[in-house]
Amino acid sequence: MSSAFQFYVTTLLIYAGVDILAAWGLNLQFGTAGLLSFAFIVFQAAGAYTAGVLALGPQTDNGGYQHYIGGYALPFPIPILAAMAVGAVIAVPIGLIALRRLRSDYQAVALLVVSIIASSIATNETELFNGAAGISLVPHPLADQFGGDLLTYQWFYVGFTAAVCLVAYLIVHRVTHSPLGRAFRAMRDNEQAASALAKDITGLRLLAFAIGGALGALSGAILVLFIGTWAPSAWLYPETFVLLAAIIVGGTNNSLGTVVGVLLVPIGFAEGSRFLPEIGHPGLIDAGQWIAIGLMLLIFLWFRPQGILPERKHRYANDGRLVTVLDELAGWLRRSLALIQRSSR
């Protein structure tokens, strides 16, 4: 592989990982808990900003041309962990404003407004967020270990992103396949009935919001530490819709479906066709891609609303244990083997 091509592939893989993490977070809020989380991109932006300013040195570095909070030059992985904490924490005020007493259609509107307000504040507030210019020159974590070998570093970052995705997958899977995940889905299907069965709706909504927010922030942190820049224009509300399209295409409330959806929608359509590593423009999706994504979403909503991989049914074995994908696979193998044996006799 030529090194230019390797740069291209590694960058694409990292972008895929970032989008997968974010889409899992949104899927937990939207697919599992039924919250129309139209401000989701705010979590990603907040996580990215947090990680960026914590990794950066003091404002006076680089000639002091940019303004931001923080500047502590904190070592890896603290900026990432802090970003997740911020994502979870800001979920609480946002959730309290938008979710507490509102019907779901109003929630959607309220959250859209939150998203727009957040980006206008970030664009116009030069002291905190350095305005529309955003921040740049965020140092790459552990880059000094690679002695300037950029390609090796790219591959290292791919591995790191993959590891984060794996851990995130395990946690998301545990949540969605637990009694907690069941309570989320019950709330999604019928809020009033869930509260009559002692489910604390406000608490569950905030919890889903916080977990999803932490995941969104994590994705933002991984992205900003990779590309080194953060600008509010990359995190406008339409970005949420790209993730939403990925979730619906892949299969709502199915973590693997979400992966498929991300590979098809933001990666396949929006970035795969255009992206080259030298152009570090996250989130700038041009009109043609918008039309393509919109059409794809419509086609799915019309002809396959459950997505490519539909939500899995939760089945219980005779001993009361939840049947896993592996169980189903084993059962299928056993049946096929039995068939083969019978026919060969």
């Binding site: 946690i171 637990s178 009694p179 019950a186 009033q192 509260s195 489910k199 009361g320 244990r321 939840l322």
Partner: protein, 277 residues
């Protein structure tokens, strides 16, 4: 004179306060006192007072729009009254949120089926079980090993209910694919999974075929004999006659009368409001 004697008797006073503090068994499980509620111009409940005695199935009947469902909504915390006081096991629950009230063991079913459509029938029952260790974030993240045993026991309980209600074959069906009557059954089974102390049933038999309806009534009687208290809204007077005692009659947001169904049949105002039109 006698009243003041009782009132000043320290023994009786302390017994009473112990009774309410420990939730000791008093004759009345639930008391709703002078409840008012309007929706815009419509006064749905107009100063209704009811007492639900322990260990019985109390019937709540009345014409369409009498305010029965609204009263149940108020008792269960789904909506708030404009005024009035609700006491459950000696505790004032008027201002409590619905999920807190349910947590105390006051569980209700809905007049319009309220199944969780994209949960299977079995999951609809499981989700109702109280005190699930896997329902906290920590419990969920700790993983299956942490909550599996409790879950297996709940699955076992739920399956017994499914057998009793003849719904075992539908265990893995999404609730949204059930018939209307089957949804009523899920609604009742789900409420029972919640281990209620007081069960409010809003027209549990509506849409259920008559022979299954009789079976359900038999099952409710068995639950009552085990000590479960119920308040049941029902239009089918034969069913009310079979299992409900006492029976409360509501009309136009007010409680008209209370007694056995036979007593009520002989009261003129009840006849006017309900049995005739």
């Amino acid at each position: 004179m006698a009243a003041s004697l009782v009132g000043s008797n320290p023994k009786i006073l302390s017994l009473n306060s112990v009774a309410s503090a420990t939730g000791l068994r008093t004759a009345t499980v639930l008391q709703a006192q002078d409840i008012w509620r309007d929706f815009g111009g419509v006064i749905a409940v107009a100063g209704a007072t009811i007492n639900v005695p322990r260990g019985r199935i109390t019937g709540l009947i009345g014409p369409n729009g009498a305010g029965k469902s609204t009263l149940v909504n108020i008792i269960s915390g789904a909506i708030k009254p404009r005024s009035g006081v609700i006491t459950f096991e000696g505790v004032d629950i008027t201002a409590e949120a619905a999920h807190r009230i349910a947590h105390r063991g006051l569980v209700r079913t809905f007049q319009l089926s309220s199944e969780f459509g994209r949960l299977t029938v079995l999951e609809n029952l499981l989700v109702a079980a109280p005190h699930q260790v896997g329902e906290s974030l920590i419990g969920a993240v700790l993983g299956k090993r942490y909550w599996q045993n409790q879950e297996a026991a709940l699955v076992h309980q739920a399956r017994e209910l499914l057998i009793r209600f003849g719904m075992s074959a539908k265990e893995e069906e999404y609730a949204e694919n059930l018939s209307g009557g089957q949804r009523r059954l899920v609604e009742i089974m789900r409420a029972l999974m919640a281990k209620p102390k007081l069960l409010l049933l809003d027209e549990p038999l509506a849409g259920v075929n008559p022979s299954l309806g009789q079976e359900i009534l038999g099952y409710l009687e068995a639950l009552r004999d085990d000590g479960l208290t119920m308040l049941m809204i029902e239009h089918d007077l034969a069913a009310v006659e079979r299992v409900c005692n006492p029976v409360i009659v509501m009309a136009q947001g007010k409680v008209l009368a209370q007694g056995t169904l036979n007593d009520l049949r002989n009261q003129q105002e009840v006849l006017d409001a309900y049995f005739i039109g």
